[in-house]
């Protein structure tokens, strides 16, 4: 009996600790939906994730959806701001470690033509910008190139 109680207690403790931890989770491609544009997240070269300090997770199909979401929810506090690197598909990386480049050859899901790179030499070689510059940008005013 005592052993049972102990194991339940342990289980409870584990669940408690798990539920309190604030950590990102991988994007399930073909299953998760973008919090901003409602589209299903499909392309493993693009995407992003925000995790609030309370542990709520928001996933995005493109960085051009994540940035406006951040701008519209300026009062929320985020523990993690992550994006997927074009040169390392599927993996979420802290945005401050990434370089961003705009080029029409990057067919990002919401028409931003924007890709993130872990290694700057993998980019085409247009102007690379940092996260600090990117997060001030305005999106969704596309012009037919």
């Amino acid at each position: 009996m005592n052993r049972f109680l102990q194991s339940y207690f342990l289980l409870g403790l584990v669940l408690l600790i798990q539920s309190c931890s604030v950590s990102p989770e991988p994007i399930k491609f073909g299953e998760d939906h973008c919090a901003h544009c409602k589209m299903k997240i499909m392309d493993p070269r693009f995407g992003g994730e925000l995790v609030t300090t309370k542990g709520r997770i928001y996933k995005f199909d493109a960085v051009e959806c994540l940035v406006p979401y951040l701008q519209e929810h300026a009062s929320m506090e985020f523990g993690y701001t992550l994006a997927i690197a074009y040169d390392e598909p599927k993996k979420l990386v802290d945005v401050r470690e990434l370089h961003f480049e705009t080029d029409s050859s990057y067919r990002s899901p919401m028409g931003g033509n924007l890709a993130a790179f872990r290694q700057s030499q993998n980019a085409i070689g247009n102007e690379l910008i940092t996260w600090e510059e990117l997060k001030e940008k305005k999106f969704y005013a596309p012009t037919n190139p």
């Binding site: 073909g30 939906h33 544009c37 409602k38 299903k40």
Partner: protein
């Protein structure tokens, strides 16, 4: 059974009526049979593919030609690069089976790519397990008709779009059957185009997807059992008529998703058995009329940032919730619809209910915030709250009413 079949390129007939345009027959063989034939052909020749399997990819079509498959002619890309890349105007590609294009993260490979061309026809082909099916870029006045495009899509992120059009004008996409791809039809910057009589089923994201496209018409299509039916985003003046949006079930599935669109018409469509029939966000000046919305979880979810839409003469039948919104004010106009949840009466027998109908249900607002509350649906408590709320609206938008609710459904014919 060694390779005794050489490359046979034979001149079959001279068609007198075409001047010096020839018809050349192709047989499967060693090496790059198709590319060599194209190299030797003169503009406006016809290449007839005889029965057999041609193992070839990266075939550049750089002159006006007719490529015609006989029954049983198959081009196998062997999981390599794209099969046909068309860079010339006036090409037509018909009756071929194309299969096996390899998946690439770096390049959106397609079985047939059209690059900066016009007046190209892709007709009656069968595409199997091609990452992207037909990819038109910067092309105008092309026809994609009667093709059957089936993806393999064992892993979801490895699927491309069946018909993908990026920058184009006056494209006709008709009578195609599209399944097991990411989007059945994808439009980005495509104007003045026409989509009709297509069947788009079992695609993972959308049956049809518009982004930044204007002045397009889609009608008489069937969108069934896709991730969501159709998404129209950041587009203006789209006409959507007589389509069927069926069986789009799932946590975030919609029959029709409207986002940042204006001045369109949605008429005579059937929305049946969807989690949400029509979801609208930032949609303005649309006219929704004569549609049937039947057996959906929520028939319409119309957000507070939608303005000046007119919802007229539709049939709302057997939906769990008829209209949902997230705003207390209403800037849209509902009139003359048939609502199967209408509980008023018609004393003067003119076919119009004497009391206005409030299609927004209090409990729909609650379950939208707290999905687990669905458990209490149809309970006595909820039903009584419901009646009280309809009499003295506190939470539901007061002006969201239909002042002319119909007593019986319209007899529209939706096939």
């Amino acid at each position: 059974m060694s390779s005794w079949i050489p490359i046979i390129l034979s001149l079959l007939t001279l068609l007198p009526s075409w001047g010096n345009a020839k018809t050349i027959a192709l047989y499967p063989g060693e090496g790059r049979v198709i590319s060599d034939a194209i190299l030797q052909a003169a503009p406006y020749d016809t290449l007839v593919f005889k029965k057999g399997i041609y193992q070839e990819n990266s075939i550049l079509v750089d002159k006006p030609l007719v490529l015609l498959g006989e029954e049983g002619a198959i081009v196998d890309g062997q999981m390599g690069d794209e099969i046909f890349v068309i860079v010339s105007d006036d090409v037509s590609l018909e009756n071929l089976t194309l299969k096996n294009v390899g998946v690439s993260y770096l390049k959106d490979r397609a079985a047939i790519r059209l690059n900066r061309v016009s007046n190209v026809t892709i007709r009656n082909n069968r595409l199997l397990n091609t990452f992207f099916g037909i990819y038109l870029q910067k092309s105008n006045e092309c026809v994609v008709d009667g093709n059957t495009i089936t993806g393999a899509a064992e892993e979801e992120s490895r699927a491309g779009n069946a018909i993908h059009i990026w920058q184009g004008k006056r494209i006709r996409v008709t009578h195609n059957t599209l399944s097991h791809h990411r989007d059945g039809i994808y439009f980005e910057f495509v104007d003045e185009s026409y989509i009709a009589f297509n069947q788009s089923r079992n695609n993972m994201r959308y049956g049809l997807h518009f982004m930044f496209s204007n002045d397009d018409i889609y009608e008489n299509n069937v969108f069934q059992n896709n991730g969501s039916g159709v998404a129209v985003m950041f587009s203006n003046r789209i006409s959507m008529e007589n389509n069927e949006f069926l069986d789009n079930w799932g946590g975030a599935s919609y029959g029709l998703l409207l986002k940042e669109i204006s001045d369109g018409t949605i008429r005579g469509n059937r929305f049946q058995s969807n989690t949400v029939g029509i979801y609208a966000e930032g949609a303005n000046r649309l006219v929704l009329s004569q549609n049937l919305l039947q057996n959906n979880g929520k028939a319409m979810d119309i957000k507070g940032n939608c303005m000046d839409n007119r919802i007229l003469d539709n049939n709302f039948i057997g939906n769990t919730f008829e209209v949902l919104t997230n705003s207390k004010t209403n800037l849209n106009h509902f009139e003359g619809n048939y609502w199967s949840q209408y509980s008023g009466y018609d004393l003067n027998k003119d076919g119009v209910g004497d009391l206005p109908h409030r299609p927004v249900n209090l409990f729909a607002l609650i379950t939208d915030k707290v999905p687990a509350a669905h458990m209490l649906l149809h309970s006595f408590l909820v039903s009584s709250l419901e009646v009280a709320e309809r009499m003295f609206p506190q939470f539901i938008p007061e002006q969201l009413i239909d002042s002319q609710p119909q007593i019986s459904p319209y007899p529209y014919d939706y096939d």
